[in-house]
């Protein structure tokens, strides 16, 4: 360390340290897996409950999923924050993207309920935005494709009246847009952790 550096050595130090810092990226797989499973379960529960009793208030499974997901996500985020040794601009941008999505989603739900409209298709379209952006920011193709899938499925849901088709489409979007990318992301994170 005490020897004077040559310009080549200086450049090597800079390049290797920047590459080292790039290794640390947001551990986002947990959230995709959690929300993917919860929202898929809420959709299936809504379909089944409406099938059994057409008068059922179909907002309840979504409320339960949202409440559970919110609590678990917050607890995980606090625990993760305690362990995190570095904060990158990428983590910050992804965090704000999802915060903006949650705020917009809540406003869409309030407006839709007030207008007696089903918020599902619009929220599905909206879900495409943060998913697509997260994929682009992380340069992770499965999430980019997942985002595009949410856009397509949301539009199709808007024009489909059949509850079974809507349920199948939504669950497919959750599986391919959240759960599969979440599992692939988890593998990538584990690979980096052990590198």
């Amino acid at each position: 360390m005490a020897h004077p550096l040559t310009p080549e050595q200086s450049l090597q130090v800079i390049e290797s340290m920047i590459a080292q810092a790039k290794k640390s990226f947001s551990r986002a797989s947990f959230y995709f897996l959690l929300w993917g499973v919860l929202l898929m379960a809420a959709m299936v529960a809504t379909y089944l409950l409406r099938h059994v009793s057409p008068a059922f208030d179909h907002g309840a499974p979504w409320g339960i999923a949202g409440f559970l997901g919110g609590i678990i996500s917050a607890a995980h985020s606090i625990r993760q924050g305690r362990r995190e040794v570095v904060t990158s601009p990428m983590d910050r941008i992804i965090g704000w993207t999802w915060s903006a999505f949650v705020i917009t989603m809540l406003l869409v739900i309030v407006c839709s309920v007030a207008l007696k409209r089903d918020p599902g298709p619009m929220i599905t379209v909206l879900t495409g935005l943060p998913t697509f952006l997260t994929g682009q920011i992380m340069r992770f193709r499965p999430l980019i494709l997942g985002g595009i899938l949410f856009w397509v499925v949301g539009v199709v849901m808007q024009f489909t009246g059949d509850p079974l088709i809507i349920t199948v489409l939504y669950c497919t979007a959750m599986l391919l847009g959240y759960i599969v990318p979440g599992l692939l992301l988890k593998n990538r994170e584990n690979g980096i952790r052990s590198a």
Binding site: M1, P7, E8, S10, M17, I18, Q20, A21, T87
Partner: protein
């Protein structure tokens, strides 16, 4: 053509490594820098203090999960010095 002088604060392997790591992140704690640079705790601590005294980084000491935590951030002065250093190095390499 004369060569631009190299900043003596940055022209040290460990200090250059610390600043290079901080260029890519918003904030990094002591353990991240320790792992990234492969330095010893004592040496890293000394070089962090030198960078802090030069005004190249800011150091925030706090507690994280009941343990003392040192978080480092590159300052605007540090970023400018790093950019100037990289330009100077480019001059040497292209000569």
């Amino acid at each position: 053509m004369g060569f631009a002088p190299l900043d003596p604060i940055l022209h040290n392997q460990l200090r250059l490594a610390i600043v290079s790591l901080l260029v890519s992140v918003d904030e990094a704690d002591f353990n991240f820098l320790l792992e990234g640079t492969g330095a010893t705790r004592g040496n890293l601590s000394v070089q962090i203090t030198k960078l802090k005294e030069a005004g190249y980084i800011t150091v925030k000491k706090s507690f994280k999960a009941n343990y003392p935590n040192t978080a480092c951030t590159l300052s605007a002065k540090g970023l400018k010095a790093f950019e100037d250093y990289v330009e100077a190095i480019k001059g040497y390499l292209s000569a």
